[in-house]
């Protein structure tokens, strides 16, 4: 019996010949990644020193910190948190990346998405590094273990394989594909498993689209997602990789919990209705629902192809009077490219409010809603209160549908505005 890519990566990182799903191992993460957030990094720094007497980490090159939430700070205590992070990074020789974008995306840009590497973060959306054959797991408070100990205890996860086949119709994006996966396999369809993605749709998909899907794996119950890296992924990831590691691939006879074959060739745009990320519906059934705010951004969406698609929809048109359209590119590099090619100019001319990269629009710190308001969003989540009042509502859609709603002031089928 062969092994999955997840088993192979963990075997290497644990210094073992082979491991199998279900086995408990002690494994050394290649990268320990976090963004500064109250209750997480500030507490970890304190506990390391006060509880465990660790004044400096032994291998600073394994660690990376991002400042992407509460950017820019709006209160002194937020800036104090950031300064504490900068100070800790300087003392430990650990890089602190700030104002470069959302950390999960910037981590890929900076080479932490090393094919064959094992990474941990407290936040589950780090799973998007799986686009490049990296096994990246969000472990919540267990991250302290990776700051205190060289090795962490981990049960080797089983893997569920999802094969996606078929060409996507115009106006249908990776975002629709992910939420369709949830609709098909269910919110616990991949529970405690690694979600391994493949098939012709993935092969034809851009790296950006793959990151959208791997980013959201947690909503299938998965602990992370991974794609066996193809030339496209390696061409991006290897030149910037921070470690030289053997690239790993699942064996043809690897063992899976389940294999799902999903045809996406007839998929239409979807909407995920509040208040749960598993509520995938056909967007067509919600056309006309009044919407007050649109958010295009986040670690899941907000990359060049999302911005371009929104610009295509909005070119020569205007955001409806009274509608608030917030566009937040996922990283500085993405924003710069979008500015150079004119995509941002199109969005701005149409009435979009474009701001520099930050996580703050996604988790209700900026651009929030009041009671009774309703948003379309490419953010990660649609639970109550995620973007302001607990009496507001979030409908998750693709980038083109955010733009279409901005024109019409209601949920609208984006396909009538999409040329390609």
């Amino acid at each position: 019996m062969g092994h999955t890519i997840a088993e192979k990566i963990l075997a290497r990182a644990a210094g073992l010949g082979t491991v199998h799903a279900g086995q408990e191992i002690e494994v050394k993460p290649d990268y320990v990644i976090a963004y500064d957030f109250p209750g997480y990094t500030d507490v970890i720094f304190k506990q390391m020193e006060e509880e465990f007497g660790i004044r400096k980490v032994a291998e600073p090159e394994r660690f990376a910190l991002f400042i992407d939430h509460m950017v820019p700070a709006v209160a002194p205590h937020e800036e104090e948190l950031h300064q504490n992070t900068r100070d800790w990074g300087a003392k430990n020789n650990v890089p602190v990346y700030e104002r470069m974008g959302i950390g999960h995306q910037v981590a890929a840009e900076l080479g932490y998405a090393t094919p064959g590497a094992f990474a941990v973060h407290f936040d589950g959306h780090i799973s998007q590094l799986g686009t490049y054959g990296t096994l990246a797991i969000g472990v919540r408070r267990h991250l302290l273990e990776a700051f205190v100990k060289e090795h962490i205890k981990l049960k080797v996860p089983h893997t569920t394989r999802v094969n996606l086949d078929g060409a996507l119709r115009p106006g249908v994006t990776a975002r629709d594909v992910f939420h369709h996966i949830v609709r098909v396999i269910g919110p616990s369809g991949c529970r405690f498993n690694v979600l391994e993605l493949g098939g012709t749709t993935i092969a034809d998909m851009t790296l950006e689209g793959r990151q959208t899907i791997t980013c959201l794996a947690m909503f299938t119950g998965a602990i992370t997602a991974v794609i066996n890296p193809d030339k496209k992924a390696l061409d991006y990831a290897l030149p910037r990789a921070r470690k030289e590691l053997d690239v790993q691939y699942s064996d043809d006879d690897a063992s899976y919990t389940a294999v799902h074959d999903i045809d996406v060739s007839t998929l239409d745009p979807v909407v995920v209705i509040p208040p749960n990320p598993s509520n995938t519906r056909d967007l067509a059934d919600f056309v006309g629902t009044e919407i007050h705010l649109g958010y295009l951004g986040s670690c899941a969406s907000g990359r060049l192809e999302d911005l371009r698609m929104a610009a295509e929809v909005l070119e020569g048109r205007q955001v409806k009077d009274g509608f608030q359209l917030h566009v937040v590119p996922t990283s500085k590099d993405i924003m710069e490219q979008a500015a150079r090619e004119g995509t941002l100019a199109t969005l701005i001319a149409a009435g979009a409010y474009v701001t520099s990269s930050s996580c703050d629009y996604c988790f209700g710190r900026m651009g929030v809603m009041s009671d009774g308001q309703r948003a379309v969003s490419t953010g990660t989540l649609n639970v109550k209160g995620r973007m302001g009042s607990t009496d507001s509502e979030i409908y998750i859609v693709n980038a083109a549908a955010v733009a279409a709603a901005a024109i019409e002031g209601c949920i609208a089928d984006p396909r009538k505005y999409v040329k390609s």
């Binding site: 408990e24 509880e51 408070r141 205190v148 205890k153 529970r191 998965a222």
Partner: protein, 174 residues
């Protein structure tokens, strides 16, 4: 060291699949830091006098994929303040599971529990046998054994104690 068996009543049965634990205190209260205030708010929309009915050691029972969504810590902080000693569910969402195990809060994954427990049944979670004994109904139900890592973390009362124990064990081996 061993985890102490749990012995208490089923103080509530959440029959909703994919239950979002934030509903326990209400999403609008999720940022409240005061534990007593959280405890006062807990379950208020389900049963106004829930707090007065709960005894120390009582347990919660849940359906499958318990903790799905974007679970925060305050709901179970509130439950612990009320005396709740653990959660038994058909199955758990991984993010919720990891978070609460790191807090040292016992979670028991037990397929079939929902059909074998009524509210206020007296239950014993026996970690040595990996079985739940329903004293009221005189039945027993096997549950999924903990991983070694999760067991060590619950024995140590959470991640801090667990890491101290790991350090101690390594020093003893040197």
């Amino acid at each position: 060291m061993a985890i102490e068996n749990l012995h208490g009543r089923a103080a509530w049965v959440f029959d909703e699949i994919d239950f979002d634990v934030d509903q326990i205190v209400g999403v609008k209260n999720i940022k409240i830091k005061d534990v007593d205030e959280l405890a006062r708010l807990a379950m208020a929309t389900y049963e106004a006098d829930f707090a007065s009915k709960v005894q120390a050691g009582d347990l919660l029972v849940g359906n499958s994929n318990f903790g799905y969504g974007h679970p925060h810590y305050p709901p179970m902080i509130a439950m612990r303040r009320l005396g709740i000693a653990g959660v038994i569910a058909e199955s758990f969402s991984p993010g919720y599971w990891r978070g609460e195990i790191a807090m040292g809060f016992p979670q028991v994954s037990c397929q079939g529990i929902l059909t074998k427990v009524n509210r206020w049944d007296e239950l014993v979670v026996d970690w040595s046998q990996d079985k739940i004994f329903n004293i009221t109904q005189d039945t027993e139900i096997p549950f999924e054994p903990l991983t070694e890592g999760d067991q060590l973390m619950l024995e140590a009362g959470g991640i801090i104690g667990y890491l101290h124990e790991r350090n101690k064990a390594e020093q003893d081996n040197e």
